[in-house]
Symmetry: C2
Subunit: 348 residues, 2 copies
């Protein structure tokens, strides 16, 4: 990017108000000051500067991907990130999972009356930093304020547009029997980091969220001509939910090797302590890739060049449609079921 | 559209649950049933059916507009619409204000635990009906659930993509001295309708929200070759906020004729009763157009073909940058100031 590195210690703007008031969402002078001094200052780019109801974008021809996510995480700040980091990376990753290069984001804020302006400013800076790292621009936005007692401080929606630079159809329907199933890193860190922050737990070793943008990894797979059939980041419901969704939507069976699935020792210990299954715990920087069997080694090498914990974890079988099985170390095999709800609500 | 007219009386799906539970947002089986039985059934279209993290879209080459809005209105249902109608029309209108033909919407829901499934279903049907009327497709979405006591039942974010089919630059910076200022309909209805519903007021004559899609009207202006300089729908803060924003961003003065601004008699009476200024009350189906002076008559005729209350209300002057003045019936002139906050919070 042509802009100078942003200083994260830049001083808090919006002199005169320490907390968000209802009037900051009213469409009047106070709202325009809030937008100018917080969001336009943090996200500063030419599209935002048109100051219109939307952004006008010029894209090279080709297929586009569009994805949306609202972020309602509690607490707003957690080890490894905050709601701003998450709101950028989460949507960037959903675009990447469509095989798209993320380009533009919208950002819509629902602020709770009484939210500290300093918190909002810190979140806006996190979003800017995450956007720079992921190579996207926040080009349009919206601000609403709800009364104190509603909304948990801050909800953020980001919606993203990306461009597909290949001819593949990356979706559950493209998964084929024989496909290799790979994972881009170790699982369970985001959910456990949020849980620890929320409940003031301290584990033997501190656990940081894996929250990170995944588009570079995906672009590298595609640029190397790897025949990618499906990609899915393992967020809510964890790896278990993702494998079950894809097995069900593709109408095939997925068989994984339990011992091959990378789980950090601290995460495993914390899960054991709390009786949780790390395969059901949410991630924010980890995805599953279904690739043609003959490209399995090349795909694994590429994934490992970004994260040494990446692994080949299983294969797709032409049997029992919708079933996910897990081969255990003792030579047994169990069904890995879809979680019903979520062990830990409000983690993303 | 090729699909048959949707029956609004179709039965409620999601047998077995009458209210939203936390588990409906957990990424597991209950969430996928909720999405399948409510959102996929209501919005049914091929992009949603890929069941992926985002939608893949093929657009004709050209400039795109992107706009986002979160909807936090209280109450969820009001005379003339509900939060679903509003969530579609509001974003469709923001795209239209960029001079774009609205094409695709994302829809992200933040549900409060305990929300009645019947309410969610009704809102989803309203969204489908509004989307059909506006000619857009809801192609991707997200669902989160927050604990009871947060979130006011339902917040919706919609983000839209539209295509610009002309070479104009429609923005405050394009406004010129001499431009005619027109309004597409009478003002103040949405805010007063919501206020009446929220406070259980009954006015002499019932007031309905003006909530409606505006893209057809804008497309008609553009197709007739009218030199449109800026468009802005008069939502939060009403006409007063919009005129002040544009006067300020364009660095010009706007002078309007108070008597020319159409206000429904019931709205005027209700505003007088409550001490409100109809020019500061929100609208959801009414916009201001700045057009080249020589196209003023043609623009007015086009606007009137959609709404007979459309009017020429003022002109842009090359003086006192940022000022908005109002000529009164008695021959005086007053400054129309930017509202500070909002008289009625949570109206959109």
């Amino acid at each position: 990017m042509s802009e100078p590195m942003f200083k994260l210690n830049c001083p808090l703007p919006l002199a005169g108000h320490e907390r968000v008031l209802m009037a900051h969402g009213g469409g009047g002078r106070m709202m325009s000051v809030l937008i100018a001094q917080i969001f336009r200052q943090a996200f500063d780019n030419p599209e935002l500067e048109t100051r219109h109801d939307g952004a006008v974008l010029t894209l090279a021809p080709g297929r586009l991907a569009m994805s949306t996510d609202s972020y309602v995480i509690r607490p707003l700040v957690f080890p490894g990130g905050d709601i701003g980091t998450l709101a950028v990376n989460g949507t960037v990753n959903d675009l990447a999972m469509c095989g798209a290069r993320p380009l533009y984001l919208s950002a819509a804020f629902i602020l709770e009356e009484g939210l500290e302006i300093a918190t909002l400013w810190q979140v806006a800076l996190s979003m800017r930093q995450a956007a720079e790292r992921a190579g996207v621009r926040i080009v349009t936005g919206d601000t609403k304020v709800v009364e104190r007692g509603h909304g948990d401080g801050l909800y953020i929606n980001t919606t993203g547009i990306g461009r597909l630079e290949h001819a593949l159809r990356i979706a559950p329907a493209s998964v084929r029997p024989g496909d290799a199933v790979l994972i881009s890193g170790d699982v369970g860190r985001h959910g456990m980091a949020v849980l620890a922050a929320r409940e003031n737990l301290s584990f033997h070793s501190p656990i940081e969220s894996d929250c990170a943008p995944l588009a570079d990894t995906v672009m590298a797979l595609l640029q190397q001509g790897i025949e990618v059939h499906c990609l899915r980041d393992a967020t809510r419901g964890g790896l278990a939910a993702v494998l079950n969704e894809i097995a069900s939507d593709a109408g095939l069976r997925i068989d994984c090797d339990d011992a091959a699935i990378p789980v950090d020792r601290a995460v495993r210990e914390a899960c054991e302590l709390l009786g949780l299954d790390p395969l059901q715990v949410a991630n924010e920087g980890c995805f599953v890739a279904f690739v043609a069997q003959r490209h399995s080694d090349a795909a694994l090498a590429t994934l490992r060049s970004f994260n040494p914990r990446a692994a080949l974890i299983g294969a797709v079988l032409d049997a029992q449609p919708g079933l996910v099985t897990l081969s255990t170390e003792l030579g047994g095999r169990r069904i890995l079921d879809m979680p019903m709800g979520e062990l830990l609500p409000r983690i993303c």
